[in-house]
Symmetry: C2
Subunit: 422 residues, 2 copies
């Protein structure tokens, strides 16, 4: 039986998950894959800390060089998270010809080119299935099952925290703040939830996904990013009335040689399969020119789902040995589009007097924005709420129209502008 | 650039799809995968038939031996369908050391062991991603992304025809016959729809999926099979009232060393992601002990989606060269379970007189079946309809109870018995 020497960088939640998977399903892996994966060393900060897993203390080390220089170690699996020292360790491991398996979205999103280059030079493999959408197989299917396609569109629910919050708001009428508190209490949200609720986490993942799908380097600075902090129960209620759900979507499209990429709250029709993705589940919806619509659904986080992806990568790395299969980027010079087209939902509070609706409709018209539907709601205190859904329009037209609308004395506030996808 | 010599067996719908994909996306495949796939020969029945694709007539042949014996052909892709001559040709190709890519569910379900053995002997590869769920990547993810898991459950909507029919019945209140006629008119159902509507097509696919998931040979004779011909609009209406959808599911479970496998109409809660799979879409829901719930959704048929899977397999076959990765079956002797457990929905028409409900409830009780809910409906003509949902019970208890219920003079008919999954 093939022997595989593994080192782990980190023994937190995910590291412990990997430890458990290798222990509990080691028999299956030996029988079906014909390999025996042995954990030879584990990098930890504190060797004496009490652990949840029953690990032999003699394999713990706090010195990375003991791992990088160990000839008996073939594969290094990293789940320390954060940019550094993770990046340096991954790079050094690749330089030493050790294949690397990582769950680190930030490092892959930021240092893709450099790490691919190192891997190509040494022939070591670089694997990062677990960096996007936890346990859901997505990186490998994109690379190994959809090669015959020109991928034209990605829409992903790739942050479980925000999906949990939006589900609670939608199903129980909770406010954003209440739902966030609940998510924190249950461990779905961090004490500092910024990276999740502002969309930064989803942006790293979209950078990786869209680079892979379009074979063009989509760095995070090319991705427009809005979080869910301003979504109100009113918007969620109106969405339902109009036949939509609200999800934080990571969207990327490629058309006419242009790429657009963005993370923002989005209206999607209740009949769309993404709307049925509830709680902390993730799902990635992909459109290929040949295969049509596909969706991959599952657990986007958690120790064991993430470990499932990591151990799969470890097995693949061992099977591929010293052969690195680089992701070949296309050579064409792609333009990034920020004036994308969408339908738009907007909610305005205006003075309840004759002529206001006509005035606003006139402003939209002057900016080329044509309206699909208008709903007037909740009169009271001389105010009225007006809800618009537009036909397809350019992002800039909408912003220009809203600027002018905000200046009108009849308009009290523009409460929300949310893009609509189908 | 690597040159790959391909022969195609068949130039019908799927063959033409493969031809189109290789033509339209050949550039992408050359640039990203570094290989040039050349169609060297195509086996057809009639060389002079008019074709929808612009194919060079000189590569058409009606003599399979010209293909099997051609040294310039590395890979043979088969999409003739049916058992023979497809099986013989696949076997002979493998014997000659040519890798085979096939969309043929029947041949794989029936001759898995024999073909795997031939492949192992010659070192040629055997690939069949397109045999299950068309364009959805499922075979490769199961083999290459979920190796760290013990898969415990599969629930698949793997027949697009029946899903289309059930969707029309559910959304438009059509009868089975009306929905079938519409499906036939639109080309979603064959003129002879038996294989689809009786569940035989789904059974072949479940045989392949469950063999792969459980690493135990699940032949079609081990799979209980019921079609959708007896589903009535009444059942669909009551399902909705009770919070369920009705789908034709292919279900396989492994627990306590036992495997159960079955294809039948099934109640599933409206909140389950499988319920959102509409029209002719397919989806496969999988539960792994580590990864938890996963779902793969997409087009289960059609020329281009199926061709997407076939061309992906061709690329993989070329990359793997003469290395065949066999599916290693487990050695344990698994028992097949036909007395599985479920909740059950039943609809009875009974005489509308006092004591009938008590009598029926008594019969269920004597057979260990406890009831979760009872609904009495539609009185008229001295008849009443009673709907039961049971708690978890054994299949045999239900059959025994229904046998006794049918014999009661108070019971006019047992209209339906549909299993419930969650």
């Amino acid at each position: 039986m093939k022997k595989v020497g593994l080192a782990m960088l980190g023994l937190g939640t995910i590291g412990s998950g990997v430890f458990k998977v290798l222990k509990e399903n080691g028999d299956i892996i030996r029988a079906r894959e014909g390999m025996d994966i042995e954990i030879k060393k584990i990098l930890v900060r504190d060797k004496n800390k009490k652990r949840n897993v029953d690990v032999d203390k003699s394999i713990l080390t706090d010195d990375p060089s003991e791992i990088i220089n160990d000839e008996g170690i073939d594969i290094i699996a990293e789940f320390m998270g954060g940019e550094n020292p993770a990046f340096t360790l991954i790079r050094d491991a690749l330089r030493k010809g050790k294949s690397v398996v990582t769950a680190n979205k930030e490092v892959i999103a930021k240092y893709w080119d450099e790490l691919e280059e190192e891997a190509e030079k040494s022939g070591a493999g670089l694997y990062f299935e677990a960096s996007v959408a936890g346990g859901i197989p997505i990186i490998k299917p994109l690379r190994r099952s959809l090669q015959a396609n020109n991928i034209v569109k990605i829409m992903g629910i790739i942050n479980g925290t925000t999906n949990y919050i939006l589900t609670r708001m939608s199903e129980e009428g909770k406010s954003f703040e209440e739902a966030l508190l609940e998510a924190q209490r249950l461990g779905y949200a961090e004490p500092d939830p910024t990276a999740d609720i502002e969309g930064y986490d989803a942006r790293y993942k979209l950078s990786i996904l869209s680079t892979l799908c379009f074979r063009n380097r989509v760095t995070i600075d090319k991705i427009h990013c809005e979080g869910i902090t301003r979504i109100s129960p009113d918007d969620i209620r109106y969405a339902k009335e109009l036949g939509y759900g609200i999800k934080l979507l990571a969207i990327a499209k490629k058309h006419d040689g242009k790429i657009e990429a963005r993370v923002h709250p989005t209206f999607i029709p209740l009949s769309h399969p993404l709307t049925a993705v509830r709680d902390s589940y993730n799902a990635i919806f992909i459109q290929g020119d040949m295969v049509g619509d596909l969706m991959f659904y599952g657990r986007g986080a958690g120790d064991l789902p993430t470990a499932s992806a990591i151990v799969s990568d470890i097995i693949t790395a061992a099977q591929n040995g010293g052969t690195h299969h680089s992701v070949r980027l296309d050579e064409d010079k792609t333009v990034f589009e920020d004036n994308w087209k969408n339908e738009y939902y907007m909610r305005l509070v205006v003075l309840d007097k004759p002529g206001v609706l006509a005035e606003i409709a006139g402003i939209f018209g002057r900016h080329n924005v044509s309206l699909d539907s208008v709903m007037q709601k909740l009169r009271g205190n001389d105010n009225a709420t007006i809800i618009f859904i537009t036909h397809t329009a350019c992002e800039k037209w909408i912003h220009d129209a809203l600027d002018e609308i905000r200046r009108s004395p009849s308009v009290i506030s523009v409460e929300s502008m949310i893009r609509v996808e189908r």
